[in-house]
C-alpha cells in the first residue's frame, strides 16, 4: 500500500508535509533547475512587505558551527510587485503557495494582506518574528499583546488561511502561541531565527554590518523541536515545525513532536536537493514502518 503523504493544514491540502521556508527559497524560481516545484508540499515565499524594502547593507551572512547568521532584512520588491510580477510566474506550479507577510506597523500588515485577497496565494504566513528589521518584525512577536494585536487586525481583513510564524527569542513561547490562536490564527509555524552574532577577529569588528543576525541551520534544531513540542501541546490549531531540519530523520522527529508539517530552510543552501531527499526519505520510512499516512506521525511521541 502506498503511504498517503498528504497533510491538511487549515483546510489546505499539501501533497506532502515538506514546505520550503521563507527567505530560503526566493520567490520559487531559483531551484527549478534541480527539481520541479510540484515535488514540494508547499513553498513559503520570501518575506514581503507592503512597500518595497532594499534590505540591510552587506555583509549579511556569517557562518557558525552547524549554523549561519543572516541579516538580509526583508529585502523585497513590495506587495504590489509581489502580486503583479512574482505571483504570475508561479501560476500552475503545482504546489501550495504561501505568502510570508511582514510589516513595520499594523497598518502595513493589513495593507499587505488586503493586497493578497483574490490572488493565487493559498495561505498567508504572518511573519511577526523577523529579527533583522528595526521596526515591527520581532517586536510584535516578542509579547503576547504585540502578537495578538497584529493577528487580530489581519484576521479581520483576509479570508485566506492564516498561519502565524513565531520568534524563538522569547521567554514564553506557549503564551504567545495561545494569544495568536485566541485571535483566530489557523495555524502556527515556528521557529524563525534565533538572534546571534559573530566577530571577525582579524578585523576586530562584528562580521555582519548589522552586528546581529538570525541564526538558522542544524544548530538550532533542538531548540526548535522543544518549542514545537511545547506549542503543539498547548494549542489545538496545527503547528508547522521548522528550524535546522536537514534530513528526513529530523522531519520525522519534528512531526513526532507534534508538527503537522515541516519547513526546510538553510539546508537547501548546502544541499539543493534537501527538501526532495527529505520527502523521499520520509516516504520510505513510513512505508518501512507500516504507517498508512504521513499525518499519523504528528505527535506520536507525546502519547
Amino acid at each position: 500500500m502506498k503511504v498517503d503523504m498528504r497533510v491538511n493544514i487549515a483546510g489546505v491540502t499539501f501533497k506532502n508535509p515538506v514546505i520550503t521556508a521563507s527567505g530560503c527559497y526566493g520567490f520559487g524560481g531559483d531551484y527549478t533547475d534541480f527539481y520541479p516545484l510540484s515535488r514540494l508540499g508547499g513553498v513559503c515565499l520570501k518575506g514581503t512587505t507592503l512597500e518595497p524594502r532594499q534590505g540591510n547593507p552587506p555583509p549579511r551572512i556569517a557562518e557558525t558551527p552547524m549554523g549561519m547568521l543572516n541579516s538580509v532584512g526583508l529585502q523585497n520588491p513590495g506587495g504590489h510587485a509581489f502580486v503583479t510580477e512574482e505571483l504570475p510566474r508561479l501560476t500552475g506550479c503545482g504546489t501550495v503557495l504561501i505568502a510570508n507577510a511582514a510589516g513595520s506597523s499594523i497598518e502595513s500588515y493589513v495593507g499587505l494582506v488586503e493586497l493578497l485577497e483574490g490572488t493565487a496565494i493559498d495561505m498567508i504566513e504572518l511573519n511577526i518574528s523577523c529579527p533583522n528589521v528595526k521596526e515591527g518584525g520581532m517586536a510584535f512577536g516578542a509579547t503576547c499583546e504585540g502578537a495578538a494585536r497584529v493577528v487580530r487586525a489581519v484576521r479581520g481583513r483576509t479570508t485566506k488561511p492564516l498561519m502565524v510564524k513565531l520568534s524563538p527569542n522569547v521567554t514564553d513561547i506557549v503564551s504567545i502561541a495561545k494569544a495568536c490562536e485566541a485571535e483566530g490564527a489557523d495555524a502556527i509555524s515556528l521557529i524563525n531565527t534565533l538572534l546571534g552574532m559573530r566577530i571577525d577577529i582579524k578585523t576586530r569588528r562584528p562580521v555582519l554590518n548589522q552586528v546581529m543576525g538570525g541564526l538558522s541551520g542544524p544548530a538550532v534544531f533542538p531548540v526548535a523541536l522543544r518549542m514545537v513540542w511545547q506549542v503543539a501541546g498547548a494549542v489545538s490549531v496545527p503547528v508547522v515545525g521548522l528550524g535546522g531540519i536537514e534530513k528526513w530523520q529530523d522531519a520525522v522527529e519534528m512531526m513526532m513532536a507534534g508538527a503537522a508539517a515541516v519547513q526546510v530552510g538553510t539546508a537547501s543552501f548546502y544541499d539543493v536537493y534537501a527538501p526532495v531527499r527529505i520527502i523521499e526519505g520520509m516516504e520510505a520510512y513510513l512505508e518501512r514502518e507500516g504507517f498508512g499516512a504521513a499525518s499519523q506521525l504528528t505527535g506520536i511521541a507525546r502519547k
Binding site: 557562518e63 538580509v72 543552501f269
Partner: protein
C-alpha cells in the same frame, strides 16, 4: 546548474598556501563560461565556499584556491581521488566581445584565476598581475601560454614592477588605450581600476566578492550596492554577478 560530488584528479601547490585543483566534471564544464564560479561544499562546514572557474576543458574544470580561513584550509587537505561536492556553474560570468578586440585583464592576488579563461578567449590579451611578492605570483605562465602579454607587479619589488599593478596599467592605458577591461582582485585595486577605466574611457567589468549562502539567488545574502537608474540598489553577486559593469559598482 548541477550539484554533484566529482573526483579530484590532482592538486598542485602553485604558491605558498595556494593550490590548483583539477576536477573531473565534464558535464559541469560543458555548461561553464568564463567568470562563473562553483560553490564548494566541505566536510564540517555548513556553507559552501565560492571559487572561480580558472580553466574550462572538455574533461572538467580547474580551480585555484588560496588558504584564507578554516574552509579553504580544509580544501587544501583534499587530494587526488577525493570527491569534491560542487554546485555550479553559478553566476553570469564575463560579457565577452569579439576575440580580436584589445582586451586588458587586471588581476590582484587570488583575483587572478577567473581571468585566465578570458586570456584564452581574446587572442592577444594584455594582462596585468599584481602580487605581494615574487613567490606569490601565480598563473603567469598559463597566461603566456594562452598568448597573452603579462606585466607583473609586486608590492615588495621582488619581481616585475615594484609597486601596485595599477601603475603599469595606467601607463598602458595612457599609451595604448583598450577596447575592454576586466578586473578581479582586492577592493582597493578594483577602486583604482574603476577610476582608470573612467579616466581612459574604457568599457570595464569588475568581478566582486560577497559572503554567500545559497549561491543561486534564493537567500539574498550576497548583496552588493549597485548604481542603477533608480539610484543605488542591492544586487546579488551570485546571480546578478559576480561581474558588474565598472561604472555601476559602488566601492
Amino acid at each position: 546548474m548541477l550539484q554533484k560530488a566529482y573526483p579530484l584528479i590532482g592538486r598542485t601547490l602553485i604558491a605558498p598556501h595556494t593550490h590548483s585543483f583539477s576536477i573531473d566534471c565534464p558535464d559541469m564544464a560543458a555548461l561553464a563560461r568564463p567568470g562563473q564560479f562553483v560553490h564548494v561544499r566541505l566536510p564540517g562546514f555548513l556553507l559552501r565556499r565560492p571559487i572561480s572557474v580558472c580553466q574550462i576543458t572538455q574533461d572538467g574544470l580547474r580551480i585555484v584556491v588560496e588558504e584564507r580561513g578554516a574552509g579553504t584550509e580544509e580544501m587544501a587537505r583534499l587530494g587526488s581521488g577525493d570527491l569534491i561536492d560542487l554546485l555550479g556553474p553559478l553566476g553570469n560570468g564575463f560579457l565577452t566581445e569579439a576575440p580580436h578586440r584589445r582586451a586588458v585583464l587586471v588581476g590582484g592576488g587570488i583575483g587572478t584565476p577567473p581571468l585566465l579563461p578570458l586570456a584564452e578567449h581574446y587572442h592577444k590579451a594584455e594582462v596585468f598581475l599584481g602580487f605581494r611578492s615574487a613567490d606569490r605570483a601565480i598563473l603567469t605562465e598559463d597566461f603566456e601560454a594562452a598568448g597573452a602579454t603579462v606585466t607583473l607587479a609586486t608590492e615588495d619589488g621582488s619581481a616585475g614592477h615594484h609597486g601596485y599593478v595599477t601603475e603599469p596599467l595606467e601607463q598602458h592605458l595612457a599609451r595604448h588605450g583598450a577596447d575592454v577591461l576586466y578586473a578581479c582582485g582586492p577592493e582597493p585595486m578594483l577602486k583604482a581600476v574603476q577610476a582608470l577605466a573612467a579616466k581612459y574611457h574604457v568599457t570595464a567589468y569588475l568581478s566582486l566578492e560577497a559572503r554567500m549562502a545559497c549561491g543561486v539567488g534564493a537567500c539574498l545574502g550576497c548583496a552588493v550596492p549597485i548604481l542603477t537608474a533608480e539610484g543605488v540598489v542591492y544586487r546579488h553577486v551570485c546571480k546578478d554577478g559576480p561581474v558588474f559593469p565598472a561604472e555601476e559598482v559602488v566601492l
